[in-house]
Symmetry: C2
Subunit: 629 residues, 2 copies
């Protein structure tokens, strides 16, 4: 077992403005996210593994060995990747806690997969055997390189939490196979689903071997020239319509678009390609300004699971796939490290609280694949024992025919300590607010910090310097963009008002000293850009990083009838309270008339709930955007 | 050649409140629809035939004979049906004008298809030969019964415009095959795409043979019990989720839903099944009140080409498939004849002017498959020489991989004289306003009427009685529901104000007398039900039966930036004029803010165009619903 460099870090750019701190540096100690990490460890990972055993996706590897795979194979063409994503989650989880059980789970799966790899490094349960489709016969839909990508990402996690074991060596052989097959002079092809790019780039960083980064760059450069077949949804579906460095905004399948952007960002950083980096950054900035939901969700169309046009953000048909949110966080983390600009950490926070936290049922046994902002009819309770065939299942289902999201949540929760803090510019930056113990080094000098907070229940974040060099430590704390005045930083008696962005502590802090960031955690009305026509003249309520929702359990009526009286204000309790009037329920005539109807009668004051909590009390209607009376 | 009964009538209920008048009774003489019928005769039918030759859908029949079909077959599994729909159009067109050319086209196609029918009556180019899938091996997607349905509908058209020729006999053999195969004791199956029901019911009426109506009833009753496989979109996609007589609103694939409703209405009428009829009527009434666009379009989702939930009517992603509009007209015509209620003729009118008229390019060489209410980015000109792979092609394409719509438009235009007038309750009813010569019989006495009008350019409709029995004729004219006061009926000096519904002429009219209906043809603001959240606080403009649209050619800017000043009024010219303010163009930041933005600067007065005219001046952005400043 080799020495572990960069312990517990999903990404380690060779050069960056900010240096990430990994699972060995940041320990999350309870709170909102600590609870979810615990649920992941106790429930989500086991739940996913049990389902993948039950539906036969893991057994595919066994059948590959006993020769019965052709008749017995189960799952879609990308099912191998979910096993790898689960293993990535196990690897981070073992890295996070040292859990022997997680390590054993990982190794047991390794033993089943390892013998399936072919001598030349190829590994896939769907292709290449007699009676199966040949290898690389379907770049549009085959997902072979996508599966390799997740295999390699799992291996990077394993290497950075355990070391180079047999699983890691297997992934390296697979990556070598990919380079041999698709390198310069090899097959001039790209996969329908990006993912290999981001994986190869990180493997290159892990091993310090440019070969893999060059291969990732090749895949990035090849895309956008029409190598993939035109389909009903157009080549934009797989971003093969416009070269990456010429595109101006994300489009097509949202997960594909974001995985590609993450990989392109890595390639740009590692090759010093400023033009490519600027293109990826500009695309992401435009996507955030024009194609992102107030929840941080991405993907406006069920058709093609895709981004819509600019400002096409319908609440009811919001796809906002959980995986797209996670993929967008991957892009944001890369841009944050490279630029130090706060909007990327802002979006990570928004996605964490409103997509990642929303996706999973509070008991850990159900998941949203799509995260709608408006459920018009009470969802149906999904069946308990069969995977849901519907991505837009109306309530959280225990498993899906396409079940990419649960394992994506698991790997994200297990590794999320890596998104809390960084070092750079001679300082420590705090990006996300969680109770945590943080170890860092600035100018080779060790620093330890304790962060305590009830965030997001309140906005008070206290950082205590446990140890620091004698000159003290310079701290910078993100003041989220949702702050609109009233945030302060206090060190002793010195209290300064701070604006959105990275607030500098008023002075260096020495061991034993502490600093308090106070963010105004109050409910607020949020108005959409008027070009987002499908929520025109409607408002949402946010409180800190969280978006709130009106659920029919609280309203006592179908939320589709609700109109909100903004002038009546927002109640002050733990949960915002609003004044709602109901429009008439009936309506059997032609619905286009000479005058618009308004809500009737006395307004009822109704509590909103955090969006991430909706759908946990049984079938309900729910909406985030409320028409203004 | 047998005697032709009920000349030129698509449907002839054995019992009904109103009796339709067919192509032999009503001659459309120019005007808005006469021009379109002429374009159909001169261009659309030939265009469709040329494309179907070019893409090989007609040649499939030839290849079936020369044994090369397996390798040479072109088109989707339902391509035979488009050939039959084209032949239906030719049959009506021959019936309408007596065109020898149309007759020859029809007969030439008959000669190519006839020999392909198998001895037991089966006929399909996609299934059943060595090397093809077996017959009836894929009820969900195979479309065999759908193709038979269109074959039979074409045969009904032929029989009612020409007589029982070889084509008609072929269709009867096919229908007999269907009854033998799927009758009581036969295969207990239903097709994924309804259409056979409405076709068999009409064949039963044509031949006076209950067998076909019983078979149609069987298909109707079998549906809704989960005989078809569950799919990602659910069994509602093909209406196999709820029995027809228990459903309360249309759902799933819009064309499927409407073809089924038309067939179920026919079955209910012919079998005297009042419960079934009431169910279909209630479904249609609910669909009109909660799931229909202001254009009369149906289908809110590209995914599954489907109805959305109640009040889910997004303008930009409006699917509003042309075929769904036509199918809804088929339902309306049946409900109108059965009940005499005006809302069905109102919806037929709305669909005619805003879906059927919109679908086809003004030069007759392009078609919209989907009819969006908001085009956000300038559409791309489709390629001229290849079928479009995209149903939501951004501008009218000459042909589609799935090209059901052009031939549906053709058969509708050629037969639309049958929707103009009826007899019943001792009167003649005028439902649609076109320049026309009308022959009818009331109580076995002949009546001739001349209708002259510039409708919808103005609202003046003059009916002159050319001949009538001595006691005169009782006339009833539809006053559309869009009339909101100000409509009058005048006979000589007697002028009475009339309200929406069927206005009775103030007295019987004798030969030589005339009557004038004056409808206030003025531009009006229309407000949506507030539950249609995606157009909340937005208005549309209508003028008579036509919906108007803002196109960027007239605005001189992207319509996405438009906000309308309703208080500034509607200009009075031929085309309505509105006052538009533009919201800021830029926007690179987070689009959810503490306050909403409003349009800036002096409003510009801008002309609207009839929605059906949009997209004829090259790439443009366009919207029907305008946010209120």
């Amino acid at each position: 077992m080799s020495r572990i460099v960069d312990f517990g870090l999903p990404i380690v750019p060779s050069t960056s403005r900010l240096r990430p701190l990994g699972l060995g540096d940041v320990e999350i100690l309870g709170g909102f996210w600590g609870e979810r990490q615990a649920l992941n460890a106790s429930t989500l990972i086991a739940h996913a593994q049990e389902w993948m055993e039950k539906v036969g996706w893991i057994a595919n590897f066994d059948h590959a060995l006993d020769g019965t795979l052709v008749e017995k194979r189960r799952g879609r063409e990308f099912s191998d990747s979910d096993v790898y994503k689960l293993m990535e989650a196990m690897a981070w989880e073992h890295g996070r806690t040292g859990s022997a059980e997680m390590n054993e789970r990982f190794e047991a799966l390794t033993r089943r997969i390892l013998p399936v790899q072919e001598p030349d490094g190829y590994l896939n349960t769907k292709f290449g055997r007699p009676g199966q489709q040949p290898r690389y016969s379907d770049f549009e839909w085959g997902h072979e390189l996508y599966c390799f990508g997740h295999l390699i990402q799992a291996a990077v996690a394993r290497a950075r939490t355990f070391g180079r074991d047999a699983f890691v060596e297997m992934a390296i052989r697979a990556a070598d196979h990919v380079c041999a097959e698709f390198g310069e002079g090899g097959r001039d092809s790209i996969p329908g689903h990006p993912e290999i790019e981001v994986a190869l780039a990180e493997l290159g960083r892990l091993l310090g071997d440019d070969k893999y980064i060059r291969q990732a760059a090749l895949f990035v450069e090849r895309r956008g020239h029409g190598r993939l077949r035109d389909i009903e949804w157009g080549r934009s579906y797989y971003q093969d319509d416009i070269p990456v460095r010429e595109a101006t905004v994300a489009r097509g399948h949202a997960v594909r678009a974001m995985y590609l952007a993450a990989g392109a960002a890595d390639v740009a950083v590692e090759t010093g390609d400023e033009e490519l980096f600027a293109a990826v950054k500009a695309q992401m900035d435009a996507t955030m300004a024009r194609r992102t939901y107030v929840t941080g969700g991405m993907g406006s169309r069920h058709t093609g699971e895709a981004f819509g046009e600019d400002f096409e953000l319908p609440p009811d048909r919001s796809y906002s796939e959980t995986c797209a949110g996670i993929a967008a966080m991957m892009v944001c983390q890369r841009l944050l490290l490279a630029t130090g600009e706060p909007q990327y950490a802002d979006l990570i926070e928004r996605i964490l609280y409103n997509i990642v936290a929303t996706s999973t049922a509070e008991d850990g046994h159900g998941f949203f694949y799509a995260n709608t902002l408006y459920r018009r009819t009470p969802g149906e309770l999904p069946e308990k024992d069969v995977p849901s065939p519907r991505a837009d299942s109306s309530l959280r289902a225990p498993w899906y025919d396409v079940s990419c999201c649960p394992t994506n949540v698991s790997r994200t929760l297990a590794s999320m300590a890596s998104m809390i803090a960084t070092t750079g510019d001679g300082a420590v930056q705090i990006h996300q607010f969680v109770p945590a113990h943080i170890r860092a080094a600035v100018a080779d000098e060790s620093i330890e910090l304790d962060m305590t907070t009830n965030y997001p229940d309140d906005g008070i974040v206290r950082i205590t310097v446990v140890s620091a060099p004698t000159q003290g430590v310079e701290l910078r704390l993100r003041v989220p963009a949702w702050v609109d005045g009233g945030a302060t930083l206090a060190v002793g008696d010195t209290v300064v008002e701070v604006a959105a962005g990275y607030a500098h502590a008023p002075r260096r802090l020495r061991a034993g000293e502490s600093l308090t960031l106070t963010l105004p955690m109050e409910a607020k009305w949020v108005h959409p850009d008027p070009r987002i026509d499908t929520v025109f003249h409607q408002v949402a309520v946010t409180k800190g990083p969280r978006v709130f929702a009106l659920e029919s359990h609280d309203l006592g009526a179908d939320v589709g009838r609700a109109q909100v009286d903004v002038a009546a204000g927002l109640g002050d309790g733990v949960q915002p309270e609003v004044a709602i009037r109901l429009v008439a329920e009936g309506g059997s005539g032609w619905p286009y008339r000479a005058a618009g109807d308004a809500g009737q009668g006395e307004p009822r004051r109704t509590t909103l709930i955090p969006y991430h909590r909706w759908g946990n009390r049984g079938p309900a209607t729910m909406r985030v955007w409320l028409p203004m009376a």
